[in-house]
Symmetry: C2
DNA sequence: TCGAAACGTTAGATGCTCTAACATTGTTAG
DNA sequence: CTAACAATGTTAGAGCATCTAACGTTTCGA
C-alpha cells in the first residue's frame, strides 16, 4: 500500500496522485476558510508537498479553485439525481425534490457552492458542467408540461424555479434565514414556491 | 480648497478625510477587481497615502470591506425607496418595484452587492442595516394584507419574495441568465414572480 | 502655549504566489 | 537492459501584500 493520504508526510519522492490530493485539500480549505481564505501554501501543507509542486498540475491558484468548482458541479448533479429518484418524472414531487437537492448541496457545501457559482471568467468546462446540471431542471419541466422539446415556456418556468432555489441557497448559507431549523423547513418552502411559480401561463 | 481628491497626490501631511476617501477607493476597487482582487495597497495608491495609513482608521483589511458593505446596504435602502415612490403602498406595483430596485442595485454594483451579503462574521452594524432594509419589504407586505402588525404570514410571504429577488440578483451578476436584455426583461420577471408568490394562503 | 491626541510616514517582519534551476523517478526506444 | 527523455518533485528567491513598531507632524483643548 502506497502512502497517498493527504495528511501524512510522504516517503517517496513522487506523490502518486498529487493532482487529486491537491483538489481534495483545496476543497477542504475552501469549506473551512472560504475562497479568499484559501491559500496554495495551506493546500501544500495538507498534501505534504512543497509550495512549488502544484504548479506542475495547475497553471495558478485560480485553476486549483476551478478544478474544485468542476468537481462540485458534477457532484451536485449526482445529488439532484439521487434526491429525484423514486418520484414520477415531471411530477411536482420530482421537481420539488430537484430543488431541494440543490439547496441541500449548497447548505452542506457552502464554500464550494459559492465557488462553483462565482463568475469564473469563461471557463468552458465549468459552463458546460453547469448546463448539464441545469439540463435536469429543463427536462423535468418539459415533462411536466408534456412538451416534446424544450420550448420557451419550459425555459421560462425553469428559470423562475432555479432563481428561487438559488436565492434560497445563498440566504441559507449566509445565515439570512430565521428559520428555527432550516433542515426541516426548507423542503416545505421549496414545495410551496414550486407550486406557486409553476403554472401553465408561462 | 483642500486637496481631497482620491487620485491626485496630497500637498498636506494630513489628508483631511482619509477614512471616507479609503472607503470610496475600496468600493471602486471591489467593483473593478472583486472582493479578493482588492488590496489595501491599491486603495492607498488611489488615496495617495502610505500603506500604513489605513490602520489608523480600520483594524484590518476586512474592516475596510465591512465599511463598504455598510455603505452599500444603506444605499440600497435608498434605491428601493426611490423605486417605490409613487406607487400605492402595499400594492403589487409597490412590492414589485421594491424587488426591482433590489435587483437593479445588485446588477449596477455587483462587487459591492456580493460583498454586502457575504457572511461577515457577526458584524452587528451590518446586520442591523440589513434588517432596516428588509423592514421595507415586511412593511409593504403587511400593508398588502391590511394587517396591523408583522404577522407570521407577512414574514413568510416576505421571505419568499426576498428569496426570489436575491436569487435573480446573483444569477444576473454571475451571468447565468440568458435574457437578451436583462435591463428590459427583469422587471417583468420580478412582476410575474411577485404575483405568483404573493397569495393570501400563507 | 504647550502637551497630548490624532494622524501621517518609513522600515521591516512575515507570509503568499509564482518562476527558475535543479533533482529524482518513470517510461520508452533502440 | 539501458540511456535518454518526460514527468514530477525540490530549493531558492523575486515581487508583492498585510500589518506592526517606531517615529514625525499637525491639531486642539486645558
Amino acid at each position: 500500500m502506497s502512502t497517498r493520504e493527504t495528511s501524512r508526510p510522504r516517503e517517496q519522492y513522487h506523490h502518486g496522485d498529487l493532482r487529486t490530493a491537491l483538489v481534495a485539500a483545496t476543497r477542504q480549505l475552501v469549506e473551512e476558510k472560504g475562497q479568499d481564505g484559501f491559500s496554495v501554501s495551506d493546500a501544500c501543507r495538507l498534501a505534504g508537498v512543497s509550495t512549488a509542486a502544484p504548479y506542475r498540475h495547475f497553471s495558478d491558484r485560480n485553476a486549483m479553485l476551478e478544478a474544485v468548482a468542476l468537481d462540485a458541479m458534477a457532484e451536485m448533479a449526482d445529488q439532484m439525481d439521487a434526491d429525484m429518484a423514486g418520484h414520477e418524472p415531471g411530477s411536482p414531487d420530482a421537481i420539488a425534490a430537484l430543488g431541494t437537492g440543490y439547496v441541500r448541496f449548497a447548505t452542506a457545501n457552502p464554500g464550494t457552492f459559492r465557488l462553483a457559482f462565482a463568475a469564473h471568467d469563461d471557463s468552458e468546462k465549468l459552463e458546460e458542467a453547469g448546463h448539464r446540471c441545469y439540463g435536469r431542471v429543463l427536462d423535468q419541466i418539459r415533462m411536466h408540461f408534456g412538451d416534446s422539446e424544450i420550448t420557451d415556456r419550459v425555459r421560462h418556468q425553469a428559470f423562475l424555479l432555479w432563481t428561487f432555489v438559488h436565492g434560497l441557497s445563498f440566504l441559507s448559507i449566509d445565515g439570512k434565514t430565521d428559520f428555527a431549523n432550516m433542515q426541516d423547513q426548507m423542503p416545505q418552502v421549496v414545495r410551496t414556491a414550486t407550486e406557486r411559480l409553476l403554472v401553465k401561463g408561462g
